[in-house]
C-alpha cells in the first residue's frame, strides 16, 4: 500500500535504534539516576571498602586492615548494649504507638463533631523536627514535671537524671511524636472498611465490640502491617530526639544504636569500625524490610 516508507514507520524504526534509547534514557532518567548513584550507590559501595581500612578521617591514606574493623565491632560491648537498648526501646515504643494511634483513629472516625479538627491536631508533633521536639520535652521533664512533683510534695528530681527514667522519657516522646502519623494510616484503614459490612454483622447479632474485633480489624490488616513496620524502622534508627532529649546521658545509659555509630565514627574517629557497625544495622533493617514484604503479601483478608 505504501510505495515509500511511511513517515510514522520511519519514526518507529528510529525508536528501535540504540542511540535513540540511550538519548531518551539519559534525557529523562539521567539527572535522577546520576544523583541517586552519587548519593546512595557510590557511598554504599565505598562504605563497604571503608570497613576494610583504618581511616582516621583526616589523612589521605587509608591503610588496609582486613577484617580488623569487624572484629572490633563485634568486640565492642558498648555497641551491643546500645543495640540491646534500642531493641527494648523500640519494642515498647512500637506497641504503645500503635495502641494509641489505633484508639485515636477509632475516636476520630466515630462521627464525633469536629473530627477533622482533631485529626489535624493530633498530627501536629509530626510537623516539627526531632531536634526541636526533644528540647521542648527536655524543658517539660526538667522544669514542668519537677514543679508538679514539688507541688505534690515529692522530691523534685528530673526523670532524665536516672537511666530508667531517661528510657521512659524517650519512649513517651516517641509515642507522642508518631501516634498522630500512624493515626492517619489507621483512619484510612477505618474508612476503607465499608459501613454495610459492619451493619450486616450487627444484624447477624454481633455486638459493636464483636463487629470491631471480627470484621473491622481483620479487614484493616494492611494498615496494621504498615504502621508496625513504619514505627519499627523509625524507632530503630532514632537519632534526633535521642540527641536533643538525653544526649546519651546519664552516663551514656541512653545511647541508642544510631548515636553509637555516629560517636564511633565522628567523635572517636574510628571511621572503619563505625562503618562496620552501621552495616550491621543495615542488615537488621534489611531483614525487617524483607519480613514486611513477606508478611504484607501473605494472608491478606478480603471482604
Amino acid at each position: 500500500m505504501y510505495p515509500r516508507l511511511h513517515p510514522e514507520r520511519a519514526i518507529i524504526m528510529e525508536r528501535n535504534r540504540l542511540s535513540y534509547k540511550v538519548s531518551q534514557f539519559l534525557m529523562f532518567a539521567g539527572p535522577a539516576a546520576f544523583l541517586f548513584c552519587a548519593t546512595v550507590i557510590v557511598p554504599f559501595i565505598y562504605g563497604l571498602y571503608l570497613t576494610f581500612t583504618s581511616w582516621d578521617g583526616i589523612s589521605r591514606t587509608k591503610p588496609f586492615v582486613g577484617l580488623a574493623n569487624y572484629a572490633a565491632a563485634f568486640a565492642d560491648t558498648d555497641y551491643w548494649s546500645a543495640l540491646g537498648r534500642t531493641v527494648i526501646y523500640s519494642f515498647f515504643s512500637v506497641i504503645l504507638i500503635n495502641i494509641v494511634a489505633f484508639l485515636l483513629a477509632y475516636l476520630v472516625t466515630s462521627g464525633v463533631k469536629g473530627q477533622n479538627f482533631f485529626r489535624a491536631g493530633f498530627f501536629i508533633p509530626n510537623l516539627i523536627g526531632g531536634i526541636v521536639l526533644g528540647y521542648v520535652w527536655k524543658f517539660v521533664f526538667n522544669r514542668a514535671f519537677v514543679a508538679i512533683a514539688d507541688a505534690l510534695g515529692g522530691t523534685g528530681t528530673s526523670l532524665l537524671s536516672t537511666p530508667s527514667g531517661a528510657m521512659f522519657c524517650l519512649i513517651l516522646v516517641s509515642v507522642w511524636q508518631y501516634a498522630g502519623y500512624m493515626m492517619l494510616i489507621y483512619v484510612a484503614g477505618f474508612m476503607s472498611v465499608s459501613e454495610s459490612l459492619k451493619e450486616a454483622a450487627m444484624i447477624d447479632g454481633c455486638t459493636p465490640a464483636q463487629a470491631m474485633w471480627n470484621v473491622t480489624i481483620p479487614l484493616m490488616r494492611s494498615s496494621f502491617v504498615q504502621c508496625i513496620f513504619l514505627s519499627i524502622t523509625r524507632c530503630f534508627m532514632v537519632y534526633d530526639v535521642n540527641l536533643s532529649l538525653t544526649k546519651g546521658e546519664p552516663f551514656n545509659s541512653s545511647v541508642m544504636a544510631a548515636m553509637h555509630v555516629y560517636n564511633q565514627a565522628f567523635t572517636y574517629k574510628n571511621y572503619g569500625t563505625g562503618q562496620a557497625q552501621a552495616l550491621i544495622l543495615f542488615i537488621i533493617c534489611a531483614i525487617v524490610g524483607v519480613t514486611q514484604v513477606y508478611i504484607g503479601k501473605k494472608g491478606e483478608v478480603q471482604a
Binding site: 532518567a29 552519587a38 554504599f44 565505598y46 581511616w55 501536629i124 526541636v132 524490610g289
Partner: protein
C-alpha cells in the same frame, strides 16, 4: 420511649463522652507546646521559680524574642532553610517525574535496573551512608559547606521514593492514548511529557512536595554533616547550636524553640487540609 429513640439517646451520650475524651487528649497532646508559649513571655527568674504559672511575678515580657532572634541570627537561618527546602523539593519533583515517565513507558534493561535499584535502596538507613558521604564529599572532592551540595544530596536521597510514587501515578492514571494522540499531532517525547503528562500529575506532585519539603525542612543529621559553617546553618542546626550555647538562659531557649516551630505551624494553619491529605496518601501508597 421506643427502641429507636433509646438508640438515638445512647448514641448521643456516647458521642458526648467521646468528645470529652478527645478534647482532654488533644489538650494533653499540645500541652508541651502550650508550656513553651506560656513561658516565652516570662523572665528567666520567673520560669525558674514556677514554670507552670500563666504570668510570672515580673509580669509579661516580649524581651526574649528580639534577643533570641539576634543570637540565633533567625532571618538568615530561616532563609537558608527556605532556599534549601524549596530547591531540593523542586529538583526532586522534576527529576523523579521525568524518571518515572521513562521507566513506565519503556521496557529497557536500564529502566528496570534503575527502578529495582531505587526500590532496593529504600531499606538502606542513612547511618550506613553518612561516613562514606563525608569521606567522598569532604575528603576526596572537598565540596562540603556549600548549599548546592546539600540540595543535590537531599535530592539524591529522595528521588527513589518520589520516582516510585510518580511511577505508580503514571502507570495507573495517565492513559497512553493521550501520548499517542500528541505523537500523531507531532509532539516529541520531551514536549509530550511537559505539555501533557506533567500537568496531569498535579495530585502526586502535591503529595511528593508536602512529604519531601517537610522532611528537608526538619532534617538535622545530613545538614549538620554537610554545613559546618555558621552562616550556612539551617533551623534545626541553629536550634541545636543555640541550645548548646545558651541552655542556662531558659527564657531565650523558649523563644528560640518557638521561633523554630512557628514557620511550619503557620503554614499548617493554612494548608492543614492538604498536608493531612498528602501525608496520608503518601504513607498509604508508599
Amino acid at each position: 420511649m421506643n427502641d429507636s429513640e433509646r438508640a438515638l439517646r445512647n448514641k448521643r451520650i456516647s458521642h458526648a463522652i467521646m468528645l470529652v475524651i478527645l478534647i482532654l487528649l488533644f489538650l494533653l497532646f499540645i500541652a508541651p507546646f502550650l508550656l513553651v508559649v506560656i513561658n516565652v513571655f516570662k523572665t528567666k527568674a520567673d520560669i525558674t521559680s514556677n514554670p507552670l504559672a500563666l504570668i510570672g511575678k515580673h509580669g509579661f515580657t516580649i524581651k526574649n524574642f528580639p534577643e533570641a532572634m539576634r543570637k540565633m541570627d533567625f532571618w538568615k537561618v530561616f532563609l537558608n532553610s527556605l532556599i534549601i527546602t524549596v530547591c531540593s523539593t523542586i529538583l526532586t519533583i522534576l527529576f523523579s517525574a521525568m524518571a518515572g515517565f521513562v521507566i513506565v513507558r519503556n521496557k529497557w534493561a536500564a529502566c528496570t535496573l534503575l527502578f529495582s535499584a531505587m526500590i532496593a535502596s529504600m531499606v538502606i538507613p542513612f547511618q550506613v551512608l553518612m561516613v562514606p558521604l563525608v569521606s567522598v564529599y569532604g575528603g576526596i572532592l572537598g565540596v562540603l559547606n556549600h548549599r548546592l551540595t546539600l540540595i543535590l544530596l537531599h535530592t539524591g536521597f529522595s528521588v527513589s521514593m518520589a520516582t516510585f510514587m510518580f511511577h505508580g501515578a503514571i502507570h495507573t492514571n495517565i492513559p497512553i492514548e493521550l501520548e499517542e494522540a500528541a505523537f500523531i499531532d507531532g509532539c516529541t517525547r520531551w514536549e509530550t511529557f511537559w505539555k501533557i503528562v506533567f500537568p496531569l500529575l498535579r495530585p502526586t506532585i502535591a503529595t511528593v512536595a508536602i512529604i519531601d519539603a517537610m522532611a528537608f525542612w526538619n532534617d538535622y543529621l545530613l545538614p549538620s554533616l554537610v554545613l559546618q559553617k555558621k552562616e550556612l546553618y539551617t533551623i534545626p542546626i541553629a536550634t541545636q547550636s543555640f541550645y548548646g550555647t545558651y541552655s542556662t538562659d531558659i527564657g531565650l531557649v523558649m523563644a528560640a524553640l518557638l521561633l523554630a516551630m512557628l514557620p511550619i505551624l503557620i503554614l499548617y494553619l493554612f494548608l492543614q487540609r492538604y498536608i493531612v491529605k498528602g501525608v496520608t496518601s503518601g504513607a498509604v501508597k508508599g
